[in-house]
């Protein structure tokens, strides 16, 4: 009798703990959103000129006559992320296809571990790679004066986003029931036909979600982009141009602003913008994944 009571109490406590753990994610997300919005919103509705924010490239928060044009920063983030995806998506999907559909046994296990290890490299190390290896390399190969720019940051960011895209894409491929492959093979499809006509169509939502998560990762990445992009406010016209990312701007400037000032508020506005964009991307990814389950 006693023991059952104890078990009952343990069960109850465990249930409460798990419940708290479960809803903590919601609390944190809402908390962060509320905090970031609170810090930025006064500025957004007060002194910010939204037209200027979205259309001007003049980000001069410390000037005597400060302007807060974030266009160059948005374009900076978008161009770096876009460039990253351009080479990272084929690379990651290719890697996922190889790991999921072709590699067997040891090769497969080793590759999976390596890809996951790639995700564990701190972003400052990637930034270091961008500055000290990629930079001189780009200067030498393309004969340009500076190697820190869209190309460099895009390559670094692409490599950083590859592990998550590969892992999610591979999960999506693994979720395709083997009976589909078997059916197609028995009908005389070659391996490529099975992949192109059955596996990829069946997993396309998962693959799209993988890409979107990679994009989200790209938008949010800070340190490596700060180090590899050149951090110059500029609308890029070539892959070798330096740019500045939204995230990098916040990271570089927040420590030097006066708490509560316009500059402070402007940085939080960038934060709200980033939060919204990544939120929309992740939400889309999530809805897309849900789309598969419904079918």
């Amino acid at each position: 009798m006693d023991r059952r009571d104890l078990a009952w109490h343990v069960d109850r406590v465990a249930r409460i703990l798990v419940f708290v753990g479960g809803i903590s994610a919601i609390i944190f997300i809402v908390g962060i959103f509320v905090f970031v919005t609170k810090e930025g919103l006064d500025f957004v509705f007060g002194s910010l000129d939204l037209g200027e924010f979205f259309t001007s490239i003049a980000w001069r928060p410390t000037s005597n006559n400060p302007t807060y044009g974030a266009l160059a920063l948005m374009v900076g983030t978008a161009s770096v992320t876009g460039f990253a995806m351009l080479f990272s998506v084929p690379l990651s999907l290719g890697a996922a296809l190889y790991i999921g559909e072709f590699a067997t046994g040891k090769t497969r296990e080793v590759l999976k571990v390596l890809v996951e290890m790639l995700a564990a490299i701190p972003s400052v190390v990637w930034g270091f790679v961008g500055m000290s290896i990629m930079n001189p390399l780009i200067i030498r190969v393309f004969d340009v004066p500076l190697g820190l720019g869209v190309l460099n940051a895009g390559l670094i960011l692409g490599l950083m986003a590859a592990p998550i895209m590969t892992t999610i894409a591979e999960d999506a491929l693994k979720a395709v029931p083997d009976t589909y492959r078997e059916a197609a093979e028995a009908l005389g499809a070659t391996r490529w036909e099975v992949i192109l006509k059955v596996v990829i169509p069946a997993s396309k939502n998962g693959l799209l979600a993988a890409v979107l998560l990679g994009v989200g990762r790209g938008f949010g990445e800070t340190m490596a982009v700060l180090m590899a992009s050149g951090h110059a406010i500029n609308l890029p016209t070539s892959p070798f141009d330096s740019v500045r990312a939204l995230t990098a701007t916040i990271a570089a400037e927040l420590g030097e602003t006066v708490n509560g000032s316009d500059h402070w508020g402007a940085l939080f506005t960038l934060g709200i913008f980033l939060f919204l964009v990544t939120f929309i991307i992740n939400l889309t990814a999530d809805l897309v994944v849900r789309g598969i389950r419904k079918k």
């Binding site: 067997t104 078997e182 093979e185 009908l187 005389g188 499809a189 079918k295």
Partner: protein, 261 residues
């Protein structure tokens, strides 16, 4: 039968041994499956009937750790031969699986999947031709009237019985000569079983059918010849009524009477 020729047999195995890793699943199997009739394979679970069936189109090799010795000749081709193209072999051999496995595409695309795969390699297919193939295949499996108004709906929305019929229908456009069926009715209810059996019986003659079954009544009423397997060996092979009414081996008699299995 003539050497290298078709003979009377659609499928012929000689001294076939098969190992899953270290485990030997088939022992020295000599089997001749006659052309144009339905041959059923019965035997307790794990006796190797599914393994044998899946060896006939080499789909068993998907597992990767399978090793075979001996020969399997299908329609006159040694399927393990170096000069044999697996894709061509599989075109001639359709396979129906235990659980209906339509692809996650529309009914139309399912039926045309194999057709498009094989024919598109050779030439351009017209829409009219596709429609004709679609209709005749679905008619052959008695599914046309049920699905003709929802050809573009996902195949996975059909009932299991309809799905299984669809899985048979999609084999027909590539004009196979042999149909391998691995317990095609085991996922169906009695009514579905009856409907699918009846349909399979209608395909008899046009195709050589080798069907694995757990259901002895099914083997008895829906096959011309019957193969009884036990522990990876063929124990008895003969006309179905003889195997059931006057089995030669004691093991067969015991299994048929339900003493084990």
């Amino acid at each position: 039968m003539a050497d290298g020729g078709r003979g009377d047999y659609a499928i012929e195995t000689r001294g076939l041994n098969l190992w899953y890793g270290d485990f030997q699943a088939l022992f020295d199997v000599d089997l001749g499956v006659k052309q144009g009739i339905i041959t059923s394979m019965i035997g307790p679970s794990g006796c190797g009937k599914t393994t044998l069936l899946r060896t006939c189109n080499r789909i068993i090799e998907r597992l990767g750790y399978v090793r075979t010795t001996g020969s399997v000749t299908v329609l006159g081709n040694d399927i393990f031969g170096d000069d044999v193209e697996l894709v061509q072999v599989r075109k001639k051999i359709g396979m129906v699986f235990q659980r209906p496995n339509p692809l996650p595409i529309s009914i139309r695309e399912n039926v045309l999947f194999g057709f498009r795969l094989h024919e598109a390699r050779l030439r351009k297919i017209t829409a009219a031709e596709e429609h004709e193939v679609l209709e005749s295949s679905l008619r052959q499996v008695l599914l046309w009237d049920t699905v003709k108004d929802r050809l573009d709906k996902p195949a996975t929305g059909l009932s299991l019985e309809e799905q299984q019929k669809l899985c048979i229908a999609r084999l027909l456009p590539v004009k196979p000569e042999v149909l391998l069926m691995d317990e095609p009715c085991s996922a169906l209810d009695p009514a579905g079983t009856e409907a699918v059996e009846e349909m399979i019986w209608r395909l008899r003659g046009e195709y050589t059918i080798l069907v694995v079954t757990h259901n002895m009544a099914q083997a008895r009423r829906a096959s011309d010849e019957c193969v009884f397997m036990l522990l990876g060996r063929i124990i008895e092979h003969g006309r179905t009524e003889e195997v059931f009414l006057a089995p030669e081996c004691q093991e067969t008699a015991d299994y048929i009477e339900g003493r084990y299995g």
